[in-house]
């Protein structure tokens, strides 16, 4: 879901009150990141603890995921997918992951 930036070209375009006209989804905070979380789907048990503790709403539950799974039993569960547009790279997901399947890799410039 991409949103467009709101532009005011002349003073008359401004609303009469300081009201919100859109969401912060236009603000790609992924640019702040210096470490990138990468999930190893061969190890991930899909417990969704990373999804639970993400402060930036950047771990998304993907139902009916085609991602690799360590066993057939859990393949039907939703898989965590990281939204790199907004992930700030705080590393909470990697720290809290009980099987340590998320690695924080340095971002290359």
């Amino acid at each position: 879901m991409k949103e467009k930036k709101i532009k005011f070209n002349k003073i008359g375009d401004l609303p009469y009150l300081t009201v919100s006209l859109g969401t912060t989804r236009v603000n790609l905070t992924g640019q702040w990141r210096s470490f990138r979380p990468v999930i190893d789907y061969q190890k991930c048990t899909r417990c969704m603890i990373c999804w639970k503790f993400c402060p930036d709403v950047s771990v998304i539950k993907e139902p009916n995921s085609k991602k690799a799974a360590p066993s057939e039993k859990i393949a039907h569960l939703p898989a965590p997918v990281i939204n790199y547009d907004f992930c700030k790279g705080c590393g909470i997901c990697a720290e809290e992951c009980p099987v340590k399947c998320i690695e924080m890799k340095p971002e290359k410039k």
Binding site: T23, T24, R25, V26, T29, P55, V57, I92, E95
Partner: protein, 289 residues
């Protein structure tokens, strides 16, 4: 208690990486649902919400002056009632500065009138947003820019939960992000009660506490385990209940993860441990009746 899948908070908000306040809001909105109005005084969240004309909260937000969160929320609720709207919940969402120091007068008045609002204080233990100045929520011996290492804070943290309990409001709870199921349960309970509800959230702040971004959840979990921040519920100002009571750990484990306590000695930690133990004993006595 299951955490809702619906994401009301939008990504792209401008909280620092690892922010406890942003995560608290995410859980709170999941619990309260879209039929909610937020009132935010000057605090970190008035920045996190995003610059004009954008907002990250996903529900109506009313930005207010520092001292007036509680009274504005009471006013918004009165306005809704005048329109015949009894279902929308109004939440005042203030930091520790807007609750412990600047907003306490409005909060006390609102609690005394028992206005039907949920007042949430997300406590990051200093004025983090303006550059880490000491507040009355800053703990004993902590570093801030106004209590430097040579003169760390000499006063104890204000006991806001007891102050609110003295108002005998119907519901008071403490919660933190490391126990989201407990937090969700408390918000849903608060929503179902009529009258002033007060929820105190401990919200770790990596830049202000000088901790690592990834340790936010760990620190908030240790705050509960070390009994620095017990998770409790108080009904009508007298019925105390401890909701989460894990196996205790030493206060040292909690303190040593935070750079703001790096200057303090082992004797100081001993002293803090004694204070924590005494407060815990007091709390146990209160839960007995």
């Amino acid at each position: 208690m299951k955490i809702s899948d619906e994401e009301i908070l939008n990504p792209g908000h401008v909280a620092c990486p690892g922010c406890g306040a942003a995560l608290s809001m995410r859980f709170a909105l999941k619990a309260l649902g879209r039929d909610t109005i937020l009132v935010i005084p000057a605090c970190c969240w008035s920045v996190i919400d995003g610059p004009f004309p954008y907002s990250s909260a996903g529900i109506p937000v009313f930005h207010m002056a520092f001292e007036a969160a509680a009274s504005t929320a009471a006013g918004v609720k009165a306005g809704l009632l005048a329109q015949g709207n009894t279902h929308t919940s109004v939440v005042a969402w203030a930091g520790d500065g807007g609750t412990f120091d600047i907003g306490i007068q409005a909060l006390s008045g609102t609690a005394e009138r028992n206005a039907d609002i949920i007042y949430v204080c997300y406590d990051n233990e200093a004025y983090q947003n303006t550059g880490i100045q000491r507040s009355s929520a800053t703990p004993y011996l902590a570093w801030t820019t106004t209590t430097p290492v040579k003169f760390p804070k000499q006063e104890q943290k204000k006991d806001i939960v007891e102050i609110m309990a003295a108002h005998r409001i119907p519901y008071i709870a403490t919660a933190t992000v490391a126990f989201p199921e407990d937090l969700t349960k408390k918000f849903i309970k608060a929503k179902s009660i009529k009258g002033t509800k007060f929820i105190h959230l401990l919200s770790p702040c990596p830049p202000g506490w000088k901790s690592k971004d990834q340790d936010s959840i760990k620190i908030s979990r240790l705050a509960v385990k070390s009994r620095v921040f017990p998770l409790i519920e108080i009904e009508n100002g007298e019925k105390y209940k401890i909701t989460v009571n894990p196996k205790p750990v030493a206060v040292k484990d909690y303190i040593r993860l935070q750079g703001r306590f790096r200057h303090i000695s082992d004797e100081n930690i001993e002293q803090i441990q004694k204070n924590v133990d005494r407060n815990w004993e007091k709390l146990l006595k209160k839960t007995e009746g």
